[in-house]
């Protein structure tokens, strides 16, 4: 341990950054998580390398930036996964890459888009302040960022010399960032809502913006990163409702030259990109609504990569030696809600008994071929750096469940399990139905179309999206931080299908929100996990991964945990 270097670092860093250095130096934080958190807090790569060296790390690698990730091999990392895939080898100049993707559901309005098909296309031309890095976020249109002492004000230094593809938009400046943020705040962007208010983002000079948040937030950079897909920076004049396909623009590596919502999109290199030249001559996105058609297309050679596919039905890719399968661990999960305020599930012991009857390993095997993380009835996924594994894992225990039911005076239970017809959820419902038979429950399944389940239920039963039902399954996609799950599903009530209310949980959530250091987040998360696991308003059996695949003829394709595919470093293998 080189204390002299550490002391120097302490003098040159802010309070949040010093806390991070202390956590790493004392061994409370792994190197990977130090790099992740350091990137979020705006520590530079040389600074982090110095700290790692000073702490006597035997690290073989050093922190990397986005630009340095090309060619690294596939692997699985954390919640904020950036996975680079493809064969080992150096990419060569030239060639076309064809990517199979979900058809975008509507016009490509960067502010309003809400599906993976749209995210992937828009992010080829438009860029984020914080881009996809190797293991976490990395400098994008922002070169660096730093918080004030309590994390309530964040200053972002912007890249200079960046041009918009449409010459009428001029050069990229802080005004573009401010206008974009105003549009997102007005549209109540899910990530920024309640964090940033109108007028909260101001330009200090053409290459500096300052965000004054409604409250301290140590994880703010994630909210203006690739993990909040709508926060792509658009030109100042790019009004809400402008569709990308009708007004192509951007600062990124690819220019849209053709877009047909039915069939696909074509991109060619942006020769003015600040990041330099790309390897490929052209990238074609081939749309299809059907995952099995997309899988057939990749296996049959019609496309070279697939943005996302499911383990069930994806054997042809999972078992093929011609493809690199990118298995990104995520926080994607399903919540099986049980109403806590009225009905048959008000007694905590009944909910615990239900959770004990679930065979989570079986679900993982049957639904995801063993690729998922087992859940423990709380929404903090193992992929998050502040996940605490000391809370005992709940396992199938029929005898224990029966004892709990006997203690609660429940001899038999009949209920309707409601669920949307989405991905593997109908199969999960059947597994739940079968598992519940072991404790004498008679469950009837009510599987609705997603339209009915979400649009009608949410509309009719606003603000609680539960359709007035006491028992059901709802899906949650990946988030860079678990705030949305903790807030909406457990604490505030808008998505709180279980009608769960716990002062202890709310207090722990406040602790979590207020925490700005690693130890604070971990300690709060342990409390949240323990309370959620004990009260079981939701049984959460697994966190399933995002699967993508790339032909081994290509290297350098990067995929985020959200499922966006980036090909700025991709090329054909020499």
């Amino acid at each position: 341990m080189d204390f002299k270097v550490l002391d120097g670092a302490r003098r040159n860093a802010g309070p949040l950054q010093v806390d991070l250095v202390e956590a790493y130096a004392s061994g409370r934080l792994s190197r990977r998580n130090f790099v992740k958190r350091g990137t979020v807090l705006g520590l530079s790569v040389p600074f982090m390398s110095t700290i790692i060296a000073a702490c006597g790390s035997d690290a073989k690698t050093t922190p990397t930036t986005a630009a340095a990730t090309a060619g690294s091999t596939a692997g699985s990392t954390g919640a904020t996964t950036a996975t680079t895939a493809g064969a080992a080898g150096t990419p060569v100049k030239g060639g076309n890459l064809k990517i199979a993707s979900q058809t975008p559901s509507g016009p490509l309005d960067p502010v309003a888009m809400a599906d993976l098909g749209s995210y992937g296309i828009v992010a080829q031309s438009f860029e984020f302040l914080c881009a996809l890095g190797d293991g976490d976020i990395a400098p994008g249109l922002a070169l660096s960022w730093s918080p004030n002492t309590d994390g309530s004000v964040w200053t972002f230094k912007l890249r200079t010399g960046v041009k918009w593809q449409n010459s009428a938009s001029g050069a990229f400046t802080a005004d573009d960032v401010v206008a974009t943020m105003e549009r997102l705040v007005a549209a109540k962007n899910a990530g920024l809502n309640g964090v940033l208010a109108a007028g909260g983002c101001v330009a200090k000079d053409p290459s500096t913006v300052e965000f004054t948040l409604t409250a301290a937030n140590g994880l703010f950079p994630y909210l203006v990163s690739v993990y909040n897909a709508q926060t792509v920076i658009t030109p100042k004049a790019y009004a809400t409702g402008t569709a990308f396909e009708a007004s192509p623009d951007g600062t990124g590596p690819w220019k849209l030259t053709k877009y047909d919502k039915s069939t696909g999109a074509t991109f060619v290199p942006n020769t003015d990109w600040w990041g330099g030249s790309v390897f490929l001559d052209q990238v074609d996105w081939v749309f299809s609504d059907d995952i099995s058609t997309q899988v057939s297309g990749v296996v049959g050679g019609a496309t070279d990569a697939i943005v996302q596919f499911a383990a069930v039905g994806g054997d042809a890719l999972l078992n093929s030696s011609d493809f690199t399968v990118i298995n990104s661990r995520t926080a994607n999960h399903r919540e099986i809600w049980m109403r806590c305020d009225k009905g048959q599930f008000t007694d905590k012991r009944v909910r615990q008994a239900f959770a004990l009857c679930l065979d989570r390993d079986l679900m993982n095997q049957q639904l995801f071929k063993g690729t998922a993380d087992i859940g423990n009835d709380h929404p903090i996924a193992p992929v998050y750096p502040y996940f605490d594994d000391s809370v005992p894992q709940r396992k199938k225990d029929i005898e224990g469940a029966k004892k709990l039911l006997a203690a609660a005076g429940v001899t038999s239970l009949k209920a309707v399990l409601n669920a949307p017809k989405l991905q593997e959820i109908p199969e999960l419902a059947v597994l739940v139905q079968n598992a519940a038979k072991d404790i004498g429950w008679d469950l009837t399944l009510n599987i609705e179309s997603t339209d009915t389940f979400y649009n009608e239920w949410c509309l009719t039963y606003d603000p609680i999206c539960d359709g007035g039902q006491e028992f059901g399954i709802v899906d949650y996609g990946h988030r860079a931080t678990p705030d949305v799950y903790l807030n909406a599903a457990y604490a505030t009530g808008t998505w709180n299908s279980a009608h769960y209310k716990s002062d202890d949980f709310n207090a722990a959530f406040k602790e979590y929100q207020a925490a700005l250091d690693v130890d604070g987040h971990k300690a709060a998360c342990k409390k949240l996990e323990t309370i959620a696991n004990e009260d079981v308003p939701y049984a959460i059996p697994y966190f399933y991964p995002s699967l993508a695949a790339v032909s081994k003829k290509f290297t350098g394709v990067r995929v985020s945990a959200l499922g966006q595919m980036f090909v700025d470093t991709a090329g054909k293998v020499s």
Binding site: T103, S105, G106, P107, A114, K188, A190, A243, E245, A246, K258, D260, K261, S262, T263, D284, V286, S288, D289, D290, T293, S296, G297, V299, G300, G301, A302, T303, A316, D451, Y454, N455, E456, W457, C458, L459, C465
Partner: protein, 317 residues
């Protein structure tokens, strides 16, 4: 002939109006808020209201109906809800794609089916006849999407003989496009070959036993002349009717094949429009398919009238 044509055209217009009304009723009377369905469950109430106002679904049903009828007769369906493109632009491309596939399937199926039917009828109840009839029955009973999936797996994925996606890249030559479309066309040929062959066989077999055939043969005409001038002219009427109906079906009803080969024709567009609640596209697509059905049956009827002038005589009476 002109009177016959006029009568058919008037009937077609009335049918289209009924079809458009049915589509309008289905779309508008069923429960659900269009704005909410398009924008999703998490859109704000204000956004939903604005959207409904913009597209006019907040207006009284009669006003909406009037607009739908105007759209029908001016063939202007406005813009798609789920993209910025005009409905006519979207459907124009889709229709062209469907047309290429349907024409290719018809060009293979019709001559093949008619020849096989004729061949079987002349060998009625012999091994060749039974083989053709049984094969036709067997292939017709398999849904086209199953045939398509099997062909795709075997010939595209397993042996890499054809393209797994049927949509050729821009700039592909006509011969190249043929290679892309061959397999999806074959999936339809396998299914429809049986219908046409059996229909032709029945017609030819009946004609072969008729008095006019016997008279023509007795007159000393050659077998080929009897077959072409007398038997086929009379025997093809039911076959032509079947082909007429199938043309409409091939344009709009081959969603399964289009899905398997990721070929974005009008059938797949309709499916996507239903999923996205893209009402203008859905209405226009249904009407386009309706028009194609009517046109193809009209052409079929005219062809039957040409081949058998007694049809016109019946109209005159």
């Amino acid at each position: 002939m002109a009177r016959y044509l006029l009568k058919r055209l008037l009937l077609a217009i009335v049918t289209l109006w009924i079809l458009a009304t049915i589509v309008f009723v289905i779309v508008n009377v069923l429960p659900g808020n269009v704005g909410r369905q398009v924008l999703g469950g998490f859109a704000s109430e204000q956004s939903v209201k604005d959207f409904n106002h913009r597209i006019g679904t907040d207006k009284p049903l009669l006003v909406q109906y009037g607009r739908a009828m105007r759209n029908l007769f001016t063939l202007d369906f406005g813009k798609s809800y789920s993209s910025t493109a005009r409905v006519t632009t979207i459907l124009g491309k889709d229709l062209f794609r469907s047309m290429k596939l349907a024409v290719m399937a018809l060009l293979i199926t019709v001559p093949l089916g008619i020849l096989a039917g004729r061949f079987a009828a002349r060998r009625k109840d012999r091994l060749a006849d039974r083989a053709i009839v049984m094969t036709g029955l067997a292939t017709s009973s398999i849904p086209e999407f199953v045939t398509a999936a099997l062909l795709s797996y075997l010939l595209c994925i397993k042996f890499h003989l054809f393209h797994v996606y049927a949509d050729p890249p821009d700039g592909t030559s006509v011969i190249g496009q043929f290679r892309y479309l061959f397999l999806p066309a074959m999936a339809m040929v396998i299914v429809y070959f049986g219908y046409i062959a059996r229909m032709t066989r029945a017609g030819v077999a009946n004609s072969l036993e008729s008095d006019y055939t016997r008279t023509a043969t007795m007159k000393g005409l050659s077998n080929t002349r009897v077959m072409n001038r007398h038997i086929m002219r009379n025997a093809l009427a039911p076959t032509i009717t079947v082909i007429g109906v199938q043309v409409g079906y091939l344009f709009g009803g081959i969603v399964g094949v289009e899905k398997v080969f990721n070929y974005h024709g009008i059938g797949l567009e309709m499916l996507t429009a239903i999923k996205n609640h893209d009402i203008p596209v859905l209405q226009a697509a249904v009407l386009v398919i309706g028009i194609i059905y009517m046109l193809s049956t009209l052409v079929a009827d005219l062809l039957i009238a040409y081949l058998n002038p007694r049809v016109l005589m019946e109209v005159k009476r």
